[in-house]
């Protein structure tokens, strides 16, 4: 399949992969930059979590092809991922790392 056929079928092309890599690089630079700014300490964790989640989503959607692949693959990946995140949050509350109020 050549680049034009890929594009016509909605598949990512080499150009798309390069753009995604550039975005991933920029987000990583921003992450490290934010870490070194003292005034951003109060919002450091939420900012970094959002940036990290963006990188995660980009890799999964474009490099792992979940954006264009069958939805069953997405479900098989996302359901355990949500369970893992849920267990992590529950444990953080259980051990007092996070607290309500």
């Amino acid at each position: 399949m050549n680049e034009h056929e890929n594009a016509a079928r909605g598949h990512a092309t080499a150009g798309t992969y390069l753009v995604v890599a550039a975005i991933l690089t920029v987000i990583t630079v921003v992450e490290v930059g934010v870490y070194y700014v003292p005034s951003l300490k109060p919002v450091l964790a939420p900012t970094l979590i959002v940036l990290s989640a963006s990188k995660f989503a980009l890799v999964v959607m474009f490099y792992m092809h979940l954006r264009q692949d069958h939805r069953l693959f997405s479900a098989i990946f996302v359901v355990p991922l949500m369970i893992a995140v849920g267990v992590a949050i529950a444990l953080l509350f259980l051990f007092g790392v996070l607290a309500v109020g």
């Binding site: 080499a14 690089t25 490290v32 098989i76 991922l81 369970i83 953080l92 051990f95």
Partner: protein, 194 residues
């Protein structure tokens, strides 16, 4: 790309190998979820040092993170080259991915050695136990990925990695990208949010 690969008819209409591999990746989410949870639960509870703030090297790890991100780009370009039957570029990108993975392992070996010299071992404190377990498991996965990529490269040199075998590269790619996304989380949770 993925639907260009022929497979036997199945009840789902999907390739069973790919379905099985996504199921495996789903189980890996639970494995790394438990390891990251354990790290977070015990974070800041070490009675003795060294602590993360004293020992973690952010500039060095930022470079190794960039290295792993670029390996994912090389991996996806390798798959594209195999799918279009371009043997030369398939070999170039597979070798590049394996080399970048090996460089990442080099960074990790350096970091582990440095930490041990600074007095942080697996049994030193809760930070040491959870840090080495989490990053060690991840490093083990990277090592398996590098070996897998080298076997694909070997098959390519044997002339056994044509477009009809693109699924083999796609599965290796899924594994490699998963290892990459796990590191994206570890870099944030362990290194940047201290």
């Amino acid at each position: 790309m993925s639907d260009a690969v022929a497979h036997h008819p199945t009840s789902t209409g999907l390739d069973s190998r790919k379905l099985a591999f996504w199921t495996f990746i789903g189980s890996e989410c639970l494995l790394f979820g438990s390891l990251i949870s354990t790290y977070l639960v015990y974070k800041g509870r070490s009675v003795t040092g060294p602590t993360p703030a004293e020992i973690l090297n952010i500039p060095l790890t930022s470079v190794s993170t960039f290295d792993l991100l670029m390996s994912s780009l090389a991996m996806v370009l390798a798959l594209a080259a195999v799918a279009r039957g371009d043997r030369l570029w398939a070999r170039v990108w597979l070798a590049t991915t394996a080399a970048l993975g090996a460089i990442f392992l080099g960074f990790q070996a350096y970091e582990f050695t440095h930490f041990v010299q600074e007095g942080l071992k697996l049994q030193t404190n809760l930070f040491g136990s959870t840090f080495f377990t989490l990053t060690g498991f991840h490093g083990g996965h990277v090592l398996v990925g590098v070996l897998w990529l080298l076997t694909l490269l070997f098959r390519s040199f044997q002339g056994k990695l044509g477009p009809d075998k693109a699924l083999l590269v796609e599965l290796a790619g899924l594994y490699w990208h998963f290892v990459d996304v796990v590191w994206i989380v570890i870099f944030t949770v362990v290194y940047l949010i201290q």
